[in-house]
Every structure is written in structure tokens, then in C-alpha cells.
């Protein structure tokens, strides 16, 4: 069986490497990573891939849609991967955040292991991304609350505990988040100094 040529469109280098690892574990393929969105259509056309894998939310997907439509005599027809007999797999892919563009006529038993591997990797990233965003938000909140506490402690001669209690009470009274109240206080203090 000939090796399949796979392109992964991904800017983040670490992420791309992990996807490539996952794909390699699923069989022998030629995998190329394209990180740049500039000239994407041309780069992909040059490689004549059998499969292109790209994040569902990547803005450059619409460029691939155009490739999928190109049907001139010299073009290789590419279709967004939709196997009508395997709605589960398509749904799993979209939920994991990966979209696949597959050359016309490629048998689905050759596509499935690749897509399964990609889905597994993308799921992992989705989880990591959600965790990272949550951690970052929590850190930001903590920083701003610390600054607000410091302002209150200085302006009103309170201790830290009392400053936090005041922020929390204000937030509860106004039905807002403590971090939002802290943000307002920091901004107002900035204007007054």
C-alpha cells in the first residue's frame, strides 16, 4: 500500500509536533506541517496531499473550502471529510475540533485510523487549552484582587482580611464578581492619582 501524504495546518509548533507523533503512531505516512497562513492554497496545491488536517476554528479553513471546490482537469479533487455512512466519526472529529479534507476516492478504511489518531490528539489539546484559559483567568483575577486589597489597605488603614471582606460584601450587594469590583476600584484609583 502506498504511503499517504498528509498535511497538518498548525501554527503552534509544539502542538503540530504532537499531532505528527500521533499520526506516525497510526501507520507509515508522509506528514508535512504548514505553519503559515500566507499563500496557504498554493503551498497545499504544491504538495498534492491525500489528507489535510486543520483545526475546526482555524480562520484559514475557508481557503481550504475553495481548494475543495477546484475541479479543473489538473486539480486533485478534495472534499471535506464527510462519510455519510459514518456520522459518528464526523461528529467526533468536529467535537474534538479537527476538520479533515480528503482527496476524492480515498477509501474510508485508510482514512479512519488517521482521523482517529487526529481526534485523540485534538481532544487532548482542547482539554489543555480550556485548563490554560481557566488558570490564566484565575491568575488575572488574583492579581487584580491583590491590587485592590492593597489600595483599600492604604487608603482606609484596613488590614488585608478586612479589605477582602469589604470587596466581597460589595460584590455580593451588587450581585457582581469580586474580581469585577476589584477591577473598578483599581481603575478608579488610577484616575484619582
Amino acid at each position: 500500500m502506498t504511503r499517504l501524504s498528509i498535511i497538518v495546518v498548525e501554527q503552534d509548533r509544539d502542538r503540530a509536533l504532537k499531532i505528527v507523533d500521533g499520526l506516525m503512531a497510526s501507520g507509515e505516512h508522509n506528514v508535512v506541517v504548514i505553519a503559515e497562513s500566507a499563500g496557504l492554497a498554493r503551498r497545499i496545491a504544491d504538495h498534492q496531499p491525500d489528507i489535510v488536517l486543520i483545526d475546526v476554528a482555524n480562520p484559514s479553513r475557508d481557503v481550504l473550502e475553495e481548494l475543495a471546490l477546484a475541479s479543473g482537469p489538473l486539480d486533485r479533487p478534495v472534499a471535506m471529510f464527510v462519510d455519510r455512512s459514518d456520522v459518528q466519526l464526523t461528529r467526533a472529529a468536529i467535537e474534538a475540533g479537527v476538520s479533515a479534507y480528503v482527496v476524492d476516492g480515498l477509501q474510508s478504511d485508510r482514512i479512519k485510523p488517521i482521523l482517529d489518531a487526529a481526534i485523540a490528539r485534538f481532544h487532548m489539546f482542547q482539554k489543555m487549552r480550556a485548563e490554560l484559559a481557566a488558570t490564566k483567568a484565575a491568575l488575572e483575577d488574583r492579581k487584580i484582587i491583590d491590587r485592590a486589597k492593597a489600595i483599600l489597605m492604604k487608603a482606609r488603614g484596613m488590614d488585608e482580611e478586612a479589605a477582602y471582606a469589604l470587596l466581597r460584601k460589595t460584590a455580593m450587594d451588587q450581585n457582581r464578581r469580586v474580581a469585577d469590583i476589584a477591577q473598578q476600584l483599581v481603575m478608579a484609583a488610577g484616575l484619582l492619582t
Binding site: S37, A38, S60, D62, E65, L69, R84, I94
Partner: protein
């Protein structure tokens, strides 16, 4: 009335205003709806999310449900266009090189005269003209094809898909020579100093339907009540947007980090029809650059479905008659009548019309007597009669 939550997908553009205003100014809440607005990065993503039921409705390019009806996309459940969200809002921009050559020849960049602009452009285009549009099935692609048809440029032009936020970069790097895109992305290229605005989309076609509210057919059948509430909330938001004095407020709301995440000054240009055509700050006024309500802007004319279906069918070697039949069934004038009558919308007597026939605002028969439509003329005087369209 129970409070329902609907998930709506949108792509960050000024024509998403009716969805954002419906949520932020309480038009949705009035209908007992909570809107969960989900910002999407591409039209393909919008189509896939709607197809998979991850959103209940989506802000979509008007030709997209047409292309789906013609089988030119992945298999999805049937998509229906319930109402048009915005008419106009597109601009054509050209590269600094082309703009300089046209200025040297004395072109005045009036922004409103497609014939003069086209001739001036033809005089400076050497070999090819690469034009970016946001999606293969877009009103922008239709505008560009129509504008350049039957001229020397028609043989030189190639149309390329470029995601709107990347238009400025594509122009700067020389990947495209020009582009047609919805605001604020043309103004964004001007602000970056890489593009000069040449024409308003409405100068080519006075009423180019740009975005529609698209739902799956199954959703409209399973949830008629929510469909109606959503349509009324958005219709009222559109009416608010077309009342004088509200556009600056809309620009402020839409520019927030949650939505467009751009300076309000940039979104405001298209919304107010006061566009800076160059980085030097030359301003052009284009009244009604984008419309959200007036002139029955929201009515999903079946003739519009036919117009796009015919164009797309011919480009892709499909039978135009079959394409028109499939596409017109998805433009739900019946839902529009059923759900918006109670909100006070005046409804035209017919559900299809001859496109391009009105050079001026024109009174036509409506349920309440008469209503004002148009103008909807094409710059070249062409008309599109859906009753003869397939032949």
C-alpha cells in the same frame, strides 16, 4: 412564557449587529429568549457547527444555504434562510500600487461610480488581477463577477478566498491585488496603510443581500415557537439599527472585546456610511452604506435565492432549473410572513420579484396597502427575472 436559551454563531463583522443588538439591548429578552452568541472564525466553521447542531442558528453569507441546497458542501441537514440580516456593507479595496497608478492617471476615487472605477482600473492592470473574497459562495464574489463582466478585466481576474481578518495582510504581501469584503475589514486595511477603498458594494448592486439568519429546516419544524421569537427579536433589533442616531451606540456595543474587539471608530465608519478611503483620511459619504431594516431589507425574496442559484449552478456545471428549484425552497418567505406579521412587519404581496428593476424607492402592494421597496438596481441596468431565470 418560558425562558429559552438559543445558541447563535456569528463571524465578527458589522453585519452581525442585529444579533448583538438583539441580545445587548433586550430585544431577545422581550421575547423570552436568552441568546448565547458564539464568535466563529470562518464560514466553514459556521456551516459545520449549524449542521452538527452545535449552534441553533447562524449568521451566514446569503449564498451559503444556496450552495448547500445545490450539494456543493459537506452533507448537512437542510439549511433554511429565515430572514436577511443586512443589505450592503461591502467595500472593494485595491493595493497601494494600483491606487498610485490610478491616481497618476487622474482617477478621483469617488467610491460610488463602478464604471469610471472599472475603466480606470483596467487602464493600470497589466496582466492579471487577483481579487480576494471571503468565501467561494459569497455576495462579494457575485459583486466582483458582475462588476467586471463583459470587460477586458473579466479575462484577467481570478477570485481567491481570503478570510476577512487576513485581507489586509494578503493585500500587503501581494497575494491579492484587490479585495471585496464586509466592513470593518476594508477599513482595517485602510487603517493599516495597505489599501485604498475604490467602491461601495451598493454602488454595483443597490440592494446586495449580505447575511442571513440560517437555521436547519429540522429546527424550524421542531421549534416553531423559538424560531418565531428569535426572528422577531432580530427584526426589532434591525429596526432599531435603522433609526437615526442609533448607529454610533451600536458601534460602541459591537466593538467590545467580546465581539469585534476593534476600536469603535473603525466599526463606526461602515455603520455610519462615512468611510476613510485612504490612510491620508480622505472621507467619502455613502448614505445607507449598510441597511438592517428599511425597504423590507429583511424579506428573504425567493428571487434572490434564484439569482444566486443560477450563478452558482453555471459556475459549477449544474442544471440551473433544478438549482433554482432547490434553492428557492430554502428561502422561507412563509416563516417570515407567519412570524413577523404579529410584530408589525408590513409584508409584500409577492414572494419573488424582478431583481434590479428599481432605480429609486418604489411603492408596491403590501398586506397593509402599500410599502416602499428599493432601490435595488444593478449598475449596468441588468435585470434578473426569476420566471425566466432557468432558461
Amino acid at each position: 412564557m418560558s425562558l429559552s436559551t438559543l445558541r447563535l454563531g456569528y463571524v465578527p463583522l458589522i453585519d452581525a449587529a442585529p444579533l448583538i443588538v438583539a441580545k445587548e439591548l433586550g430585544f431577545a429578552a422581550e421575547e423570552g429568549l436568552t441568546l448565547d452568541l458564539i464568535r466563529l472564525q470562518s464560514w466553514a466553521q459556521s456551516r459545520d457547527m449549524l449542521g452538527m447542531g452545535q449552534v441553533d442558528a447562524a449568521h451566514m453569507l446569503v449564498p451559503m444555504p444556496v450552495a448547500q441546497a445545490l450539494g456543493l458542501g459537506p452533507a448537512t441537514p437542510r439549511f433554511d434562510l429565515a430572514m436577511v440580516l443586512a443589505v450592503g456593507g461591502q467595500a472593494i479595496a485595491i493595493s497601494a500600487t494600483l491606487a498610485a497608478a490610478m491616481r497618476a492617471n487622474g482617477h478621483g476615487f469617488g467610491f460610488d461610480d463602478p464604471v469610471t472605477a472599472r475603466d480606470a482600473l483596467a487602464a493600470v492592470v497589466q496582466h492579471g488581477l487577483r481579487v480576494g473574497v471571503p468565501f467561494p459562495f459569497s455576495t462579494q464574489a457575485e459583486l466582483v463577477r458582475r462588476w467586471l463582466a463583459n470587460t477586458t478585466l473579466a479575462e484577467k481576474v481570478t477570485i481567491h478566498t481570503v478570510p476577512p481578518p487576513q485581507m489586509a495582510d494578503a493585500l500587503a504581501s501581494g497575494e491579492v491585488d484587490a479585495f471585496c469584503v464586509g466592513e470593518p475589514w476594508a477599513s482595517y486595511a485602510v487603517e493599516r496603510g495597505v489599501g485604498t477603498l475604490l467602491l461601495a458594494g451598493r454602488s454595483i448592486w443597490a440592494a446586495p443581500p449580505e447575511k442571513g439568519l440560517v437555521l436547519t429546516h429540522d429546527f424550524t419544524v421542531a421549534h416553531p415557537e423559538e424560531t418565531g421569537r428569535l426572528m422577531r427579536a432580530i427584526w426589532r433589533a434591525g429596526r432599531w439599527l435603522d433609526q437615526p442616531g442609533n448607529r454610533s451606540t451600536a458601534a460602541e456595543i459591537m466593538s467590545r472585546p467580546d465581539y469585534l474587539n476593534l476600536p469603535p471608530e473603525l466599526s463606526e465608519r461602515g455603520l455610519l456610511g462615512r468611510l476613510h478611503i485612504s490612510a491620508a483620511g480622505e472621507v467619502r459619504h455613502f448614505p445607507d452604506f449598510i441597511r438592517f431594516h428599511d425597504g423590507a431589507a429583511n424579506f428573504p425574496w425567493r428571487s434572490l435565492a434564484a439569482l444566486f442559484a443560477r450563478r452558482i449552478a453555471l459556475l459549477h456545471g449544474l442544471d440551473p432549473d433544478a438549482a433554482i428549484a432547490a434553492a428557492t425552497a430554502c428561502f422561507r418567505t412563509d416563516l417570515y410572513r407567519q412570524h413577523l406579521r404579529s410584530a408589525g412587519a408590513d409584508l409584500p404581496g409577492a414572494s419573488a420579484r424582478i431583481e434590479g428593476a428599481m432605480a429609486h424607492p418604489t411603492a408596491v402592494a403590501s398586506e397593509k396597502g402599500q410599502m416602499i421597496l428599493g432601490p435595488d438596481a444593478f449598475f449596468d441596468g441588468d435585470i434578473f427575472d426569476p420566471s425566466f431565470a432557468g432558461r
